[in-house]
């Protein structure tokens, strides 16, 4: 009778290696995709930032820091960056409180909460272009909003919602809030449901009212999640692109372009005018990326307190 002698150490390493190999194989498509479709284009775009590049090889030439120097005197670019911040300042203080309020309501043990949770999330899975087209029609001069407001006597004449910068910005804010509040409701709900029940039981025993419980217990215990939600909201808002391109395309007079939509519209090959200096657009994208990264890092650093509450 043969007795199989197994080396326990060797067997353990073999299994581990097998698991690791499996893990890498499963990760591979994602990693390859990330390298090919994110890292490679990023490196390509970064290198082109120091060139005059319009897609024609004989026209391409190294221009050193010229694109970057020119960028600092390009008022249109800085205007679109300022628009982006204005858009964020207008949208985030509306979007997050609405999402928080709805999350509090959905967190009650009431009938039909599942239905509303799904309904609120639905806009998030609808294509941004479709949402933009829907809102363009709703706020059309002959659209439903003007008709409704005229019917109930708020307006005498229809309003051209895209006739001035601020009106068009509000339409963008409403459309973008409608698209993204649902996902924040889910984040807030998840955060609330992680708070242990016994904390609320203790509050009840102490005789704390609903508002006191919300502001002194629920909100502080949600603070670490709030930090992440706020960060995602800031990043998402600063990157707003398709919505602007389809809904206003910068109208009126280019005044509603956010920085991403501006770069895309004016410098993306295929969309921009033939012969445009794509290298300058790459420099613009690089500087914008650095600005947004600085904002995100600063936010993470200065919002650290939200993590330290409890």
């Amino acid at each position: 009778m043969k007795i199989a002698i197994k080396n326990p150490v060797r067997r353990r390493w073999g299994k581990r290696e097998k698991y690791e190999l499996q893990a890498y194989i499963m990760l591979m498509p994602q990693i390859i995709g990330f390298l090919l479709f994110s890292i490679y284009p990023m490196i390509w775009a970064i290198t082109k930032s120091w060139y005059f590049y319009n897609g024609i090889s004989s026209d391409t030439r190294f221009v050193g820091w010229e694109n970057f120097i020119r960028l600092f005197s390009d008022g249109e670019y800085w205007q679109t960056l300022a628009n982006t911040f204005l858009f964020a300042i207008m949208k985030i203080p509306i979007e997050l409180p609405i999402a928080l309020l709805l999350a509090v309501l959905l967190n009650q043990k009431l009938k039909g909460t599942g239905f509303f949770r799904t309904m609120f999330y639905l806009p998030h899975i609808v294509s941004t272009a479709i949402i933009a087209l829907v809102f363009a029609n709703i706020f059309n001069y002959f659209g439903v909003i003007n008709a409704l407001m005229q019917k109930i006597g708020i307006l005498e004449q229809p309003v051209d919602w895209f006739g001035t910068k601020m009106k068009a910005m509000w339409v963008l804010v409403i459309a973008d809030t409608w698209k993204s509040f649902g996902v924040n409701v889910l984040y807030f709900l998840a955060a609330m449901q992680n708070i242990p029940e016994d904390v609320y039981d203790a509050c009840k025993i102490d005789g704390a009212g609903k508002f006191t419980v919300f502001f002194k217990v629920t909100l502080p215990l949600m603070a670490p999640v709030l930090q992440v939600i706020l960060m995602l909201s800031i990043i998402g808002t600063l990157q707003t692109n398709e919505l602007v391109l389809v809904l206003t395309n910068g109208a009126p007079g280019g005044s509603t372009y956010t920085v991403m939509s501006y770069i895309f519209q004016k410098y993306a090959p295929g969309l921009a005018d033939v012969g445009v200096n794509v290298g300058y657009g790459c420099a613009m994208a690089l500087v914008t990326g650095l600005i947004l990264a600085t904002i995100t890092l600063s936010y993470q650093r200065y919002s650290q307190k939200l993590n330290d509450i409890y």
Partner: protein, 464 residues
């Protein structure tokens, strides 16, 4: 049972063997016929082109041993072609070619190198067509593309509205505006908010708005665009009366609302559906206003208005290059056969059929002068006849103004929005473009500015 099985096996074996031989026979035939891939961006003429190409494939193509596989790339053909070249799957012939780019890389064939190429080019130059522009030639003067169809432009006007507001002659026929001042005046007369009547509509969100509704108007009015080929400099003062007409109409509130957020499809649909007096349009709008959004009103076509009707010039028409031939076409079937396909794609036969169906106007009106239309198409003949008072002008010298606003942006963002006066905008553009001109030629010493200078240029409109 065994016999039955044997019989069945024999039947199956014979069927399989026969089909295999049939396959061999087909592949032998296919091997004799080489397929050329032809890509076009013209979706509007896809059906007719496919019919004509199918016919050619069965007749001349079969004799030559060449088959055309015609594909319409609905949008972004330039990107599709670029990707195809990058992966060595380029089409053998394609439209919307960036001649400079592909001639630099040696990917396309100069027509003069093809057998009979010189005579083919001469056919166009004999008509007075200037093939030295970037749409047709490389910087060394080699011709890669020739024109095929043209787009003429003008003002479409709602005859019912003109009659309603009494803008008619002594016979009661509508009288479309001839000058920019009249456009403003008539737009004001026809605007009546309470009845939702509007004088004119501008699709300012449309990417070609500035060229179609502003830039091109300057040619008929001043005989040139912003670039003056006589002096070799940029002079935007030709746009002044046009900018002033726009600002006047804005101040009068006599244009359709939502100007800033309208693209051309929406504007055409509104013109077709609502009471709108006028719209600048191109010959490509005929199909739209007859079939896509059939207009509810009786509409007519007039030439572009000008600043001074007693001092009019030839107005603008679009005449770009058509197909370019890739080196792959010559490698696959040889220069002679490839050029036969190229000539067929540019043939009078195709132009006449496309004209008859109301799809394309030919580069030379005489090709279709005697062609009888299948049916009367409203506006088609009027747009075709505008070719007689039109020119495709000359090529403007390039400028390098990276990081600064182009004229279209200055108009939309500053002039229209009221942050700059017309004069300020024109001064700014003159300074910027002439500086950009200098920078471009400093950075491209191989390019000769004299190529863009023609002191003899004149396009005075005769007989008008």
């Amino acid at each position: 049972m065994k016999k039955r099985k044997k019989f069945l096996s024999l039947v199956i074996l014979s069927v399989v063997t026969t089909s295999l031989f049939t396959g061999c026979g087909n592949s032998k035939n296919n091997a004799d016929v080489q397929t050329l891939q032809v890509w076009s961006h013209n979706s509007h003429s896809k059906m007719v082109m496919s019919e004509l190409i199918d016919k050619w494939n069965t007749d001349e193509g079969a004799k030559l041993g060449v088959k055309i596989e015609y594909t319409v790339k609905e949008s972004e053909i330039q990107q599709a072609v670029e990707m195809a070249f990058a992966s060595n799957q380029e089409p053998d012939m394609f439209t919307s070619c960036n001649v400079k780019k592909y001639s630099d890389s040696g990917d396309i064939v100069p027509l003069s190198t093809l057998p009979g190429g010189e005579e083919f080019i001469k056919k166009y130059t004999d008509l007075g067509i200037d093939l030295s522009g970037a749409a047709f030639s490389s910087s060394d003067g080699e011709v890669y593309c020739v024109p095929f169809s043209i787009n003429t432009f003008g003002l479409v006007y709602n005859k019912d509205m003109f009659k309603k507001y009494g803008i008619v002659d002594e016979n009661g026929e509508p009288t479309p505006p001839k000058t920019f001042e009249e456009v403003r005046e008539y737009a004001k007369i026809m605007t009546n908010e309470s009845e939702q009547d509007y004088g004119i509509i501008f699709p300012m969100k449309w990417s070609s708005f500035y060229s179609t509704d502003i830039g091109q108007l300057a040619w008929g009015s001043a005989g040139r665009g912003a670039y003056d080929c006589v002096t070799g400099t940029y002079d935007f003062s030709v746009y002044k009366p046009i900018y002033e007409m726009y600002i006047g109409i804005k101040n009068d509130n006599s244009c359709f609302p939502m100007t800033e957020s309208l693209d051309n499809d929406a504007a055409r649909a509104y013109f077709a559906e609502r009471n709108i007096g006028m719209k600048f349009a191109g010959s490509y709008d005929v199909g739209v206003l007859n079939d896509q959004f059939p207009a509810k009103c009786d509409w007519g076509v007039a030439p572009y208005p000008v600043a001074d009707e007693n001092n009019a010039y030839l107005q603008w028409m679009g005449m770009g290059g058509y197909f370019a031939m890739s080196q792959s076409a010559v490698e696959k079937v040889g220069a002679e056969k490839a050029f036969e396909v190229f000539k067929f794609l540019h043939s009078d036969e195709i132009l006449q059929e496309l004209y008859k169906r109301g799809l394309n106007l030919p580069y030379d009106y005489s090709i279709v002068e005697n062609v009888k239309m299948d049916k009367e198409i409203n506006g088609w003949k009027e747009f075709a006849e505008l070719a007689k008072i039109s020119t495709n002008g000359y090529t403007s010298a390039n400028v390098e103004i990276t990081g600064e606003k182009k004229d279209a942006d200055v108009f939309k963002e500053d002039v229209w929005m009221g942050t700059k006066s017309v004069d300020e905008a024109i001064d700014e553009l003159n300074e910027r473009y002439n500086r950009g001109l200098k920078v471009y030629f400093e950075n491209n010493p191989d390019e000769d500015i004299n190529k863009y200078i023609n002191p003899q240029w004149s396009s005075v409109r005769n007989g008008e």
